[in-house]
Amino acid sequence: MLIRLLTLGALALALSVSLPARGEDFIVVASTTSTENSGLFGHLLPIFEAQAGFDVRVIAVGTGAALQYGRRCDADVVLVHAPVAEEEFVAAGYGVERHPLMHNDFVIVGPAADPAGIGGLDTAAKALTRLSETEAPFVSRGDDSGTHKKELSLWESSETNLADATGRWYREAGAGMGPTLNIARGMDAYTLTDRGTWLSFGNRGDMKILLEGDPALFNPYGVIRVNAERCPNVKTDMAQAFIDWLLSDAGQQQIANFRLAGQPLFTPHRQP
């Protein structure tokens, strides 16, 4: 009897739990881990939501996965950082238009002792060539993210044969930026990271930035509304309101205002 009562009670409880309502008053934004993990969305969204009257739900994944969510109509807006892939996404009709939103830059980080000696070099291509010559361990995202795409293009300009190096000194993590940095630290390896994730990363140990400032390391972010002609479920009005706000003086100013430990992480596309 006791057990039966307990079971009934459990059933009643399970059915009565108040899960967040599945209302229509939100949009889904597929974005990258760098924007979420750095705290940028934590800064922007409360400000926007208070005036917009609806919620913005962020799914933070790699750029490749975020665009895939857009193609499958599972997001209303994508906010990513791989311009070539973004233009393809729009050209194929999945997105309406790519708006440049903001930028920061990539940096090459590694052990402070810098065994490969890339510290004094001036371009990423030279640094990567040096890494391949010395066969210094390098951890790649390997996850089709924006950072991964950028890294591959940099290796191409350094004319390194990656197929040959894979599994030896070149190691594909198949993971997000944070886990990749955790692995690089554990292996005393080098890796490419966006500055936002690096500055907000809590497990740096004795790793440091060894190369920065090369124009090839520019890291632009774009925002795209998913095309309602392909995805009738897209909440076009709310999605557009969010994009309009991000691109407005107020939105651009808030991106500029966002600081982590006193440092700005992203530069708005337009100086407000």
Binding site: R22, R57, N203
Partner: protein
Amino acid sequence: MGDFSDAIVLMFRLLGSGDQELLGIIALSLQISFSATVLAAVIGLPLGAAVAVFRFPGRGFISATLNAFMGLPPVVVGLLVYLGLSRAGPLGELGLLFTPQAMIVTQTILVLPIIAALTRQTIADLDGDCREQLMALNTPPRQMIFTLLWEGRFSVLTAILAGFGRAIAEVGAVLIVGGNIREVTRVMTTTIALETSKGNLALAMALGLVLLLITLLLNLLVTSLRNAAARQYA
């Protein structure tokens, strides 16, 4: 050692702070895993008992399948549910992707084979006398299942606890179907994964300890209820 002592200190600070976001995350974790376990039990207990009691073609196959599915890889289940609930998938119309409901469905699928398979074994191991008596009395199948489940109630309870343990500890599947959206689908395990990826290892470990503590308290509670019941029926 510094990492662990940091984590323990941080755990007490987290628990002491009564942080609203953390409490919300804990509550959501419990709600989702509890709902999934109850749903899986409602289906799995009669299913497991029926497979144990009745002879029918394909019984051995179902039994083997239930045992095998105890080892379902969560990521694969997550992917399957994602493809089903995605707007481009067959159930996309429901708009359930990235909701707690989708996470409940996923955990139910993961927990169901565990509860059903362990229940099947429990009932199969029960003393045959009881079953033969029931057969001889021409007991209707439904009543027979309930009677046998009642006979094996303490082992069945352990099966349910094992199912709950799987649900509350799982991360790969709920990450895919829930999306780890702050204040909507963010649960304990996905928070731990997120903090690990942000390099906040002490905080991640502290959250892990909180999760362990909750699971332990819950099991202690159920065990003491069980013992009280056992004394009552002794």
